[in-house]
Symmetry: C2
Subunit: 536 residues, 2 copies
């Protein structure tokens, strides 16, 4: 069983890497062809986070979802929308994990009769964590970042063996991607492209940054937090609006097409009115540096980010950068949450890199000794981190992902400080939490449970179980979490006790009873439980 | 209180970085001067691991220990013993953490009356984790590796906020080291030397490794595990021998001097009889590549490791490498556990790099198409990982440390596989565990507790508390751990219950009662507890 866990993790990593490779090659081959098919919905990261934290989303880890997702993201990225491919990548990893570990597929209607002992929520969730980590790993070439992402966002219970297995899946994933990409690029054995998205190497030989720049970085972090809060607020309103008015599929397709049209129109207008086209030097073979707005249309956004990080001073016109930041900010905000496969990381990085570079250029021009701020690419990196941190509010894992993607630990401290500032500032403005929490007592009336389960306002997938303190003014203690599905199984088997506080020796449910019902539990209304006055 | 935690973590990082910087500069300045003063004992890593896992070692986190340690490691490294400076570095971090967080120093006999709310075992242990992480971070330039080291080796309870704070301390530590070293090297702002020990950058542009090499790597991992098991076994016997016969300080000093003399004699003999001295090219400014054995004497071992990793094929003579591996293996084994400040990481890396490179050379010579194994430095890296993994048996954190120290994620997968193999093989041969475990019941007789506490064979610092299952054949469940000190406080305050199973309402001890006694608890014999027939 322990060995099969490792095998499954290895398989998860391998398949995730393979999918990443497929996406990369497809985008590479199709780049330039206009090709817009808005299918499959959303980033996938929030769904996976929900899944890992116990919120049940129907069909989130089905094979059909995976197939639609992969094609969706290829089309969106190639189509030039303001999206990235990392969210769908993480989702793909999770779907692979759910499929491989369970040994059966609902979409294919096949049960391979293997790994039956993994058909439990805890096991499945652990594997889905591994899949998410493998996805991050493939997306950013950041295996350690992937592990920490899973731990920070997903895992409720953490132990060393689990972490070690997740790390294994991440490593296999980035290796597989790398290996097949190196064959595709006709350079077998060149394993230097660990992720779909890499920032290029930041060389720190000639003065990376100075101590007096750190307050500036922190200020940029605060600005990023502010912009991030604005982004999230706008997106929240948009989502509310969409839920109310854009709920029919045909409307969703129309909205996606509208976004695509507006993106194209804005980009072309900007190209027409600005005049800082770059000559195409012979050294830029694949980096068609046409122009910034052209970039977002003709080029994949990752390349634009890399270009903002690494081209020398004087390449970009400040006015263009400013206009680009504003338009791309609103476009990305509109695009994210659209019914297309999309990631928010890359758009956030691109927005941040643009205003960060603008900041660097302005700094160099207004200070008397401008040459000490020689490298606007550095400010682009910090801006990108600030913007991304302000939107997604991750800390530990994001720092590691950024450090791994830059391939340089030198910028670790500033990135960390920037992400902390962005999170604090962002959290100050936007806070999401629903209160009060619906709790169950350790011994609870059947009637109460049925009420809670059938009430639509408490359609959560798990409920905290609390124990009342000895004194009534003492706060009650958390004993654990009971899942909706477990409650339903208990109700269905009528495991009731006539009198409270008598021992529960009548009939014990085996683990098997829960496993048999997994994962298709009957809805609570179907379980015809008598409204007896007992306790479950 | 939350803010002061962050401040303390920042301080810990800063001071640890400062110490690392001091050690580095001192070794740099003194290298070449013969200077042997064997003071202060051992690596420090085992002690800190013990401390973090609840084993009390007297004076392990005192200021006096720190001062002696720092000077000890400088002298040992400069003196040319087969030791590294990373173990003492980790210990230094832990001592700094314990001192700063408690706001008082026993060595200085001062109480600064600050951070009094941190005077609890859990708080102190969290800070010591942060200190250990800062130490690893400074030693290897591996902040993420440091965090994972703390989590893998130390932390019993893991949460996101704690990890994030530990990461902060690590980052500050590596930054501080880097910053001051850049000033020392007259290149302010050049933050490209993140750790005391770095392996130099592995460029992977031209074919890092191929798929068919992975089985070879795994075989090397197994060999490393074997050698590591041998090393540990020899060291275990040596330790037993030392405990029996070399327990007086004057004998310990004499042994250390003997080791130093033998090291020097062996090195000079080897230099005399081998004849593959390298010409000193103008490009090697600081890398005095005299000769391998000379290296271990005239040069710091880290430089030898770097040289084994990075010089091109044909530099080293296979015969010399073989002889060097054997002699250095036994010297390192003898030196480690000696009463001097010493780390085992660097010697292990050096041994492994030597046999790994030898393996690479042999492979290139016996295979018909030798040029495909062009780079023996790669095999040196894998060998180093295998040997280190075989000795220390760490997995997750060691992989990350190695990846961070090579500055390249490309070798992540082979390093991981090698470390896993080395651990499995090594564990198969040497396993350390004492049985049966002394447990206490949830309700236990006072007499039993006094017996356990005063028995010298159960002089542990904590005891697992178990609950008997309902059936007698059911295994008993672990409820938690109670510390020796907590038991003593309970006994001292005579918190007994006359009848078992009556409720413990008589008198409740406050947290303050435990904190007041902290950390100087009376020995259990001094607490004059009456041998009443009650339950504590």
């Amino acid at each position: 069983m322990e060995i099969s866990r490792w095998v499954v993790c290895g398989l998860i990593g391998f398949l995730t890497g393979l999918i990443a490779c497929f996406i990369d090659i497809a985008v590479e081959e199709l780049a330039g062809i206009k090709y817009r098919v808005p299918i499959a919905a959303g980033s996938g990261i929030p769904q996976i986070k929900c899944y890992l934290n116990g919120v049940k989303i129907p069909r989130v880890v089905r094979l059909k979802t995976l197939v639609v997702k992969v094609f969706g993201v290829i089309c969106s990225v190639v189509g030039g929308l303001a999206v990235g491919k990392e969210g769908p990548m993480i989702h793909s990893g999770a779907v692979v994990a759910a499929g491989v570990s369970q040994g059966r597929s609902t979409s294919l209607k096949r049960d391979f009769k293997i790994f039956e002992y993994f058909r439990r929520d805890t096991e499945k969730r652990d594997f889905v964590s591994a899949g998410a980590a493998a996805g991050v790993s493939a997306a950013f070439g950041a295996p350690v970042g992937g592990v920490l992402f899973s731990l920070e966002e997903g895992a409720s219970f953490w132990n060393q063996m689990l972490t070690w297995r997740i790390f294994f899946a991440s490593m296999i994933s980035t290796f597989t991607l790398n290996f097949f990409l190196s064959i595709y690029n006709n350079k077998p054995g060149d394993l230097s492209n660990p992720g779909l998205i890499n920032f290029g190497r930041f060389e720190s030989d000639s003065g990376a940054y100075n101590l007096y720049e750190i307050p500036l970085f922190i200020a940029m972090g605060a600005f990023g937090g502010l912009l991030g809060a604005l982004f999230n607020k706008l997106n929240y309103w948009l989502t509310i609006f969409r839920i109310r008015y854009v709920h029919r599929p045909c409307l969703q397709v129309m909205e996606a097409m509208l976004v695509a049209a507006v993106t194209a129109a804005v980009s072309f207008t900007m190209i027409y009115f600005s005049n800082d086209c770059q000559p195409l030097g012979p050294e830029h073979k694949k980096e068609w540096r046409v122009q910034l707005h052209g970039n977002s249309l003709f080029n994949t956004p990752e390349r634009s980010v890399r270009s903002l990080f690494h081209t020398q001073a004087g390449t970009y016109n400040p006015l263009t950068l400013g206009l680009f930041t504003i338009t791309y900010f609103f476009l990305a905000c509109w695009t994210y949450g659209l019914a297309v496969s999309a990631g928010v990381f890359i758009p956030a990085l691109l927005i941040g890199a643009a205003w960060g570079r603008l900041f660097g250029i302005l700094l160099a021009s207004i200070t008397p000794n401008g040459s000490i701020w020689a490298d606007p690419g550095k400010y682009a990196l910090i801006g990108a981190a600030a913007q991304l941190g302000g939107i997604v509010r991750m800390t530990l894992s994001l720092t590691v992902i950024m450090v791994e993607a830059t391939g340089n630990v030198t910028y670790g401290l500033p990135i960390m400080l920037v992400l902390m500032t962005a999170k604090i500032v962002g959290d100050y403005f936007v806070e999401v939490m629903s209160a009060p929490v619906t709790c169950l007592n350790r011994i609870e009336k059947v009637g109460t449970i049925v009420d809670v389960l059938s009430n639509t306002s408490t359609n959560h997938n798990g409920f905290p179980v609390v124990m009342q303190g000895a004194d009534s003014d003492e706060p009650s203690k958390l004993c654990g979490l009971i899942l909706r599905s477990q409650l339903i199984v208990l109700l269905k088997h009528k495991v009731f006790v006539e009198l409270a506080r008598s021992r529960l020796t009548q009939r014990k449910l085996q683990l098997k009873d829960f496993r048999d019902a997994y994962p298709r539990f009957p809805p609570s209304r179907a379980s015809t439980c008598p409204r007896t006055r007992g306790s479950a």
